[in-house]
């Protein structure tokens, strides 16, 4: 079964609205869920998700979301945290303790190998020791040697961002992109994200060996607009495309 991974920034557009949309998610249609913990500097996100962090920073409350973390866990939806290392560096161990206590399976750290490359190995080893998944995050500008080295330190799925940041639309060669990552990491579970919108995007990625897709900007726009029906239809539709 191919992975469908919705993304939400905690606290956006506000706690009540987000909780309402989380309630609407058909849990049998998704595999994992990615929660963005609001960042003070979401520098590798596009304008739509960047804004969610600014608002989420004001609204986020663990007390509010604890029941949702329990809910997804009980329904066997694996949860992953999207957190910038610049935000959690000073309290890294405490933050991982917290995520494990909330039954998260792992963490995606978009700035780790870009801005903190020299610390990357130690952090990944630390997460491995704790039995907590580090999800390698790569982008088109990640050199081949880094993709191989970082991947070899983990056994988890890989998050490959197709665009330089979320929600933008720079032209790229899909076939070449997937061919390259498949050659570098044969047999590895690759989930694609950043800039995926249409059925055809997903179809083509899966046809080329992708293991799943992460959808963020598109769903966030629906929560902003309060488009409940569109939200449910979209998730069902994407599930259908992945199951083709």
């Amino acid at each position: 079964m191919k992975n469908l991974i919705p993304y939400f920034t905690l606290g956006y557009p506000d706690n009540e609205t987000l909780s309402h949309f989380l309630d609407l998610i058909p849990v049998d249609k998704i595999n994992y869920i990615e929660f963005g913990f609001p960042s003070n500097d979401p520098r590798y996100d596009g304008p739509v998700i960047r804004k969610t962090h600014n608002v989420g920073n004001i609204n986020f409350s663990d007390d509010f979301y604890k029941k949702y973390f329990d809910y997804f866990h009980k329904n066997h939806v694996k949860m992953y945290s999207l957190s910038y290392y610049s935000d959690i560096k000073a309290r890294f161990d405490d933050f991982i303790d917290y995520l494990q206590k909330r039954n998260f399976s792992g963490i995606i750290i978009p700035d780790l190998i870009i801005d903190y490359y020299s610390e990357g190995k130690e952090i990944i080893n630390k997460l491995n020791d704790r039995g907590f998944e580090y999800i390698p995050f790569f982008s088109p500008s990640t050199p081949d040697s880094i993709i191989k080295n970082v991947s070899s330190m983990t056994k988890s799925w890989i998050y490959y961002g197709l665009q330089p940041s979320t929600g933008i639309d720079i032209p790229y060669e899909l076939d070449y992109t997937t061919e390259r990552i498949n050659e570098l990491l044969p047999g590895r579970e690759i989930t694609y994200g950043f800039g995926i919108k249409t059925d055809d995007d997903i179809r083509n990625l899966m046809k080329n060996g992708g293991s799943g897709v992460a959808i963020g900007t598109y769903l966030i726009k629906m929560t902003e607009a309060g488009d409940e029906n569109g939200f449910i239809d979209y998730i069902n539709k994407m599930r259908g495309v992945l199951d083709e």
Binding site: R43, Y44, G46, P47, R50, K51, I113, I114, D115, Y117, S139, P140, S141, T142, P143, D144, S145, I146, P164, S165, G167, I168, D169, I170, P171, Y172, E173, Y176, R180
Partner: protein, 417 residues
């Protein structure tokens, strides 16, 4: 001497260094919080150029039409052993220079102007626009646009516009429209003129005006340097050099080039990066624009107005107004992200030379090799001479990129009594 007649020397593909970097290249960041300046590039650059800017493909096939144009403008350029210079310096090693001044427009700039104009023409855009410092990039843009039947609007940094009127004539001959920047053609230019009427202009202001002009007039912006795509196109220089060295059984121990934004330097040296660390690589800047020694390695604006995304690079600050030095092409406040990363990681060393060292080097090069090099290229030559003097007993093979000729820059020497 390897002659320019062997077209087999021109590579079939451009080389992109990104997949071979020692660490990930930091992605660009939006310059403003509410809009995506990265997405805005879709309206600023031809689509194929934009795709190549963000690609991780190690090799990109050079279209046949571009290959044909490369031959027409004088590629491959010669690689020449500077025996007279070696003799003058008393050096028992070897000095070669790759001479990009042999192209039709007299510098390396045409290597990326041609493909960018070609892709713009293929997309059916109304015209192209860009900034230029010393005028070499403007000349290349005007010619490339003319070759593909496109109008070109060029914003020339005011101080160069005033100091080098013949450059304007050259651009006009290539059908280019040229104005001094800051100009009254754009809102940003008018703002700068109002606030700083006596400004000599900067490349950052010129870029801002050209980008604004592209957005307002459905033109496309031509990328002179800094952005990766221009370095990729310039890789014809380094790939030719490698092949020419192979043909004569030589190995480059040292590569030296000058750095404005990094395009000639990256194009010349990056194709050697995958071969390992046994070639020493030196990037030379002007003493007056000490971006590598006094700049910070940080995210900064490429243009003064902040329309383009920010990139991580060595920078003296986007508002840095450099002295009105003799080498206009080296006045840019930053350097390309890939070059900056390689400098930061120590793979590439940097050097700075003074105006007097450059003038002396240009004189020496002229009266030993007969080539009057561009002031920008004079920095690479001066750096090579310094290197030779510091390693006089080592029999190394040094290769210098002479990125352009200086026939339109002779005023820097004044009159000899």
């Amino acid at each position: 001497m390897i002659t320019a007649m062997n077209k087999e020397i021109i590579p079939d593909n451009w080389y992109n260094v990104v997949p071979d970097l020692p660490e990930p290249l930091a992605p660009p960041r939006d310059s403003k919080s509410d809009i995506s300046s990265i997405n805005l590039l879709n309206k600023i650059l031809p689509k194929e150029v934009l795709k190549q800017e963000f690609t991780f493909k190690r090799y990109e096939k050079i279209p046949d039409e571009v290959m044909e144009a490369y031959e027409q403008i004088g590629r491959p350029t010669p690689l020449i052993r500077a025996k007279n210079l070696e003799k003058k310096l008393g050096y028992s090693g070897k000095i070669y220079y790759k001479y990009e001044g042999a192209t039709a427009t007299g510098s390396h700039k045409i290597n990326t102007a041609i493909p960018q104009a070609y892709y713009a023409m293929k997309e059916g855009v109304k015209g192209v626009t860009t900034e230029t410092g010393a005028g070499q990039w403007g000349s290349a843009t005007a010619l490339a646009a003319s070759l593909y039947g496109l109008p070109s609007q060029i914003f020339m940094v005011k101080i160069s516009f005033e100091q080098k009127p013949l450059r304007k004539t050259v651009m006009n001959l290539y059908n280019g429209n040229v104005v001094a920047s800051p100009s009254t053609l754009t809102a940003y230019g008018r703002k700068i003129l109002k606030e700083h009427p006596d400004t000599p202009g900067t490349l950052g202001i010129g870029i801002s005006e050209a980008v604004e002009y592209a957005l307002d007039n459905d033109y496309r912006y031509m990328v002179a340097s800094v952005m990766n795509v221009s370095l990729t196109h310039q890789s014809v220089i380094g790939q030719e050099t490698k092949k020419q060295l192979e043909l004569i059984g030589e190995h480059a121990d040292v590569l030296i080039g000058c750095v404005g934004g990094g395009s000639n330097f990256g194009g010349f040296t990056f194709p050697f990066i995958p071969d390992g660390d046994d070639t020493e690589i030196i990037a030379t800047t002007a003493n007056e624009v000490p971006k590598f020694s006094k700049g910070d390695y940080k995210y900064d604006l490429m243009d003064s107005a902040g329309i383009l995304p920010q990139v991580r690079m060595y920078s003296l600050g986007a508002d840095f107004v450099p002295p009105t030095i003799y080498a206009g092409g080296l006045r840019y406040h930053g350097a390309s992200p890939s070059l900056s990363l390689l400098i930061n990681k120590g793979r590439i060393k940097s050097d700075e030379v003074t105006e007097e060292e450059v003038k002396e080097a240009l004189r020496t090069f002229a009266n030993t090799q007969g080539i009057i090099a561009a002031p920008e290229s004079g920095h690479a030559i001066a750096s090579a001479i310094k290197y030779v003097k510091a390693h006089i007993n080592e029999k190394k093979t040094i290769v210098v990129n002479v990125s352009g000729h200086g026939y339109l820059d002779l005023s820097i020497f004044g009159e000899k009594k």
